[in-house]
Symmetry: C2
Subunit: 350 residues, 2 copies
């Protein structure tokens, strides 16, 4: 019998973290009588006087959100990380290792209107978001080793407020995922004298099996090693290292690419598609300012949980937590569906 | 200012996988207007004629589930892994690495009655479950490198059938988590000439800060490096290496310990507490049969998602997916609450 990737269970290696993913193409056929997600309907009011992220509303701590007109950034009222914090005592016991963690946490509203999302915002409005990301990154990267810009969208991804917003958590240290990536990108560069993701994009463009969107500045691909059902990477084609080295044209093309990708996501199951997404680029802060970033390529990663419909998600539980990542369809199958679904006209506008 | 673990953000190292966890003790105070879990009510009928896991019911594939009276094991109708599968072609491109995956997937019903769960079963009935785990393990471990016994309990943990059951996925290879553990336990043993978890249990018993249950054969502890809010490890005190080397007394004590722990879980938020749990021990199969397992200690891990109540869970999203694991209360706080809650009498019996 010959091996057919879309039929036979197999493993694929994620070269960015060195971990294997178990791919089980036929599992999507199984009946589902488990938890159903509530499909996120776009039925929010434009303004909700009880939502602290809306312009003019007073937050629980008494501070009033200003009457902002584009984006609005403020310090998280319940930050995971704070700037000034005592250093834990040293321990020489390898089983009880503790280390300092300084940083800060900001919330960034994308738009004054509660009933918009990135796919339903205009490209010009998305450019404003990107510009704000860059100005935040400029400020925070001067001080911190890692500035994690991320968006949790939808209740299924733990988003606790439906107003369009993202978060920016800055860390005095390199967290696990970027640390692993840093090591592996560096090792690849040492051997190949090319950034890993530049080589990867080149080969994906040749193969055309997993590409979802391509334009002059950006490529969206379902990575060969994707874990989440419709996971994608949005990768710079211009050897960008960090979000703040994008040109004006690259930013505008990024806005178009993000709008197209998220429109495809929404159209796939005709719902406001939940996901977590975030940016990865070369580390920052005084510690990394003078280190080479030649091995890095700026990219965003989208982790959407939906698997079969607006209401059936993939759970990362049991086997996944105890043994290894596992997916129920191949990257090629996911890419084909995302490629074929309309990315120009949002289903709500049809 | 002096460092106080229950107040100040910090990081802790998980020595079993080498990854740091960000601990942010004050985050639980933040308001929650996100997704609410449906608290799992124990309102199922004893027998559901439409549930394929119930005795006598015909499964979708036409096979009838027998009129079983204790446990019942069958091959998963939609297995992630199968025994006979073609081997993928070799690739020498480091960015497109693919590897074979053989194995099998079984479902194991704990009890004929749908409306029972481990905490509401008797210790004698739980012993039957443990004995069946062992007989499955005996058979499967002869052939496979890793036999992952795991239970997904509750809709919040992706369980698609409420009948009390677990799964057993066997793999021809060592998955990511056990592979990492294998390496780190081995390295610790090489340096210290003691199994890491034996040392760990000893120190936790001295400190008494994170212990939830202790008896002659078993210890339940919220690990110093726990990620999930009420995560626990149930660790053998007898230098057991695999589940099939437990004595009859150790099995009986295990049943009592599991019943006590899951009763505490249920009583904590007065609901049928969801979790994923599973067993880790020395690898198996022809490949590992003659290797030393001296560095291993048999243990189970419980990953429950609930954070603040029966309806508010911890989401492993955004920052967690893109950067690193993060928890909202300390292990010591979780351990104290689990220690104090009643583990003898289930809230439904009160
Ligand atoms: O096999 P089940 O119960 O249908 O499925 C559940 O457990 C599996 C193993 O952890 C996961 O891969 C699935 O995402 C989850 O829904
Ligand atoms: O900060 P939020 O939106 O309240 O919280 C959400 O995002 C955080 C960062 O990914 C997670 O730690 C929380 O579990 C999630 O619910």
């Amino acid at each position: 019998m010959q091996f057919v990737a879309s039929e036979h269970p197999h493993r694929r290696l994620n070269p960015l973290n060195g971990q294997w993913v178990l791919v089980c193409p036929h599992r999507t056929q199984r009946p589902w009588s488990g938890q159903q997600e509530k499909a996120q309907k776009n039925e929010l009011p434009e303004f909700d006087p009880t939502n602290p992220l809306c312009p003019g509303v007073t937050r629980p701590n008494g501070i009033q959100t200003p009457e902002y007109e584009s984006t609005y950034v403020f310090e998280n009222d319940f930050p995971a990380l704070v700037e000034v914090v005592p250093v834990p005592p040293n321990s020489d016991d390898p089983l009880f290792q503790i280390a300092p963690a300084r940083g800060n946490c900001r919330v960034m509203c994308f738009h004054p209107k509660s009933n918009l999302t990135l796919p339903t915002m205009s490209a010009a409005e998305i450019v404003v978001v990107i510009d704000e990301w860059i100005s935040q990154f400029n400020e925070l990267s001067a001080k911190y080793a890692w500035v994690q810009i991320f968006e949790n969208k939808g209740a299924a991804m733990g988003c606790s407020n439906p107003h369009p917003h993202c978060q920016i958590w800055s860390c005095s240290f390199l967290p696990t995922e970027p640390q692993l990536k840093q090591e592996r990108l560096r090792a690849y560069y040492a051997t190949n004298e090319r950034p890993m993701l530049a080589d990867y994009v080149e080969r994906e463009l040749q193969r055309q099996e997993r590409i979802v969107i391509e334009n002059r500045d950006w490529v969206v691909v379902v990575p060969f090693w994707a874990t989440w059902p419709f996971e994608t990477m949005l990768i710079s084609r211009n050897n960008n290292k960090r979000i703040n080295d994008l040109t004006v044209e690259q930013r505008y093309n990024l806005a178009l690419t993000m709008k197209e990708l998220t429109t495809k996501y929404d159209n796939l199951f005709q719902c406001s598609f939940p996901y977590s997404m975030g940016w990865h680029g070369a580390p920052t802060g005084p510690e990394h300012a003078h280190a080479s970033s030649a091995h890095w390529t700026l990219h965003a990663i989208y982790y959407p949980p939906l698997l079969r419909s607006a209401s059936v998600r993939k759970f990362m539980v049991g086997f996944e937590l105890l043994a290894m990542a596992q997916r129920d369809l191949t990257s090629e199958q996911a890419a084909q569906r995302l490629r074929e679904v309309d990315g120009k006209c949002h289903y709500l506008e049809k």
